[in-house]
Amino acid sequence: MPDRTIVCRCEDLTLEEIRDLIKKGYQSIEEIKRVSRCGMGPCQGRGCRQIVAQEIAGATGKNMEEIKMPKFRPPVKPIKLSILLGGEDKNA
């Protein structure tokens, strides 16, 4: 198997793939997320977000402070649909 540097473990995306996307002009975390699913797996970007931000900063000459974070939506972790379908637990 060829050597692979994994950036997003959940969605199996490599450093090479992220760098290619940045080269193609996807230069925000939000865009990279939408086009590749980077950060959309079970961990919701906890591992990859900062690495992607650093890659964008490196490629565009921006500071890390200038790299916009993506939208953080609930739920922060995967849950079973049955939990939502069950509705609110009124006896809790």
């Binding site: 050597d3 692979r4 540097t5 994994i6 950036v7 473990r9 450093l15 919701q44 906890r46 591992g47 990859c48 900062q50 690495i51 890390m64 402070e65 790299i67 974070m69 953080f72 939506r73 609930p74 739920p75 922060v76 972790k77 849950i79 939990i83 939502l84 069950g86 509705g87 609110e88 637990d89 809790a92």
Partner: protein
């Protein structure tokens, strides 16, 4: 809808202390943690803390967790729920949680977010080989479950976590092939580094991992030297055999709930990433939302405990609860925090915190 005065999210060193402080003032507290054990990272910390007696010096992390838990259990006004993962913060000030297979809605008058931090991962070729671990996972395996991660470990990162985990692995009979550190100096305290060096473990400063290798799991790694601009130098490669690569390159705050609540955030590398602005009571830019511990900047557990005390005190006071010696308790926590952050070791934290004062 579950209603309470103060909901505290996370029952690690910060959250447990926040609960105790707020409950001692009479506030009704709901303490939530996703784990099924209280204490957060304390439960895997089998080493003794140092510092002053008030900060539990000479006790092991796991024993501090038991002590704090016992204190929490003394209060009838703390509703403590383990196995409760908070899922989101909504604009009407309601949070939702998964609690033992059920969906909870919670409305508190104050929130203390004490969700801690997660480990940073490191991109290098073959970093997905079995045998590449985060230091937290190694600590969980070894110290909580008594399972060794392998026979011979390369530790990446010489901060306190990298140093302490290396020492604990040595104690558990695992060989530590070396510690690799990208910075020109050792990151953690000298007392920890000295123990490692006395045991004959090399610490490769200004080095990083070039690649891991192995057929179906880690068999070793190639490391190489970095120049003063952090660029790798060809020809400096060293091959180190190992079946475990342990990544201890720092933590980053778990701030999702703060972002969802609309707290003003700022990127502060000294504190591990994006963190919230706060006032002297650890209240964020959103009134009623407080923070404590690593979520608002990665530090030591001792600092998290003190921040928890402060946030718990301040949140309860803002609801009209009082305690006779409030000012004394508040001032004491502030001075102890200043003490922890004093000196050269605290410089990084101090410079980071300066950027966040509201």
């Amino acid at each position: 809808m579950l209603k309470t005065d103060i909901a505290i999210i996370g029952a690690g060193p910060a959250g447990l202390n926040a609960a105790i402080s707020a409950a001692a003032m009479g506030a009704k507290v709901l303490l939530l943690d996703r784990d099924d054990r209280a204490g957060g990272q304390l439960i895997k910390q089998t080493h003794k803390f140092f510092g002053s007696r008030e900060l539990h010096a000479s006790l092991r992390g796991i024993d501090i967790a038991s002590l704090l838990l016992a204190r929490v259990r003394e209060f009838d006004n703390i509703d403590f729920r383990l196995g409760a993962t908070v899922l989101g913060y909504y604009e009407d000030g309601v949070i939702t949680a998964e609690y033992r297979g059920n969906f909870l809605k919670i409305k508190a008058d104050r929130y203390v977010i004490a969700t801690g931090a997660s480990e940073k991962i490191l991109p290098f070729p073959n970093n997905d080989l079995p045998g590449v671990y985060g230091a937290g996972a190694v600590q969980t395996l070894t110290n909580v479950y008594g399972v060794l991660p392998g026979k011979r470990v390369i530790m990446v990162g010489s901060g306190n976590i990298g140093l302490i985990v290396s020492y604990q692995l040595l104690q558990a009979g695992v060989q530590v092939a070396g510690i690799v550190e990208a910075a020109p100096g050792i990151g953690g305290y000298l007392v920890h580094a000295a123990k490692i060096r006395r045991a004959g473990v090399p610490i490769y400063t200004s080095h990083t991992i070039k690649e891991a290798y192995g057929d179906s799991s880690v068999q070793g790694a190639v490391i190489w030297q970095l120049d003063e601009k952090w660029q790798p130098l060809n020809g400096t490669e060293k091959d180190i055999e190992a079946d475990v690569i342990c990544i201890a390159v720092g933590l980053t705050p778990l701030t999702e709930l703060l972002w969802q609540a609309g707290c003003q955030m700022k990127y502060v590398p000294q504190l591990g990433g994006h963190v919230n602005l706060r006032d002297e009571n650890l209240m964020t830019s959103v009134p009623g939302i407080y923070v404590a511990g690593d979520v608002s900047g990665v530090e030591e557990a001792s600092a998290a405990m003190l921040e928890g005390k402060l946030a718990g005190l301040a949140a309860a006071k803002s609801l009209g609860y009082s305690i006779e010696n409030y000012d004394e308790l508040w001032q004491q926590a502030i001075s102890q925090l200043d003490g922890l952050r004093s000196g050269p070791a605290g410089e990084k934290i101090r410079s980071g915190l300066k950027m966040l004062v509201r």
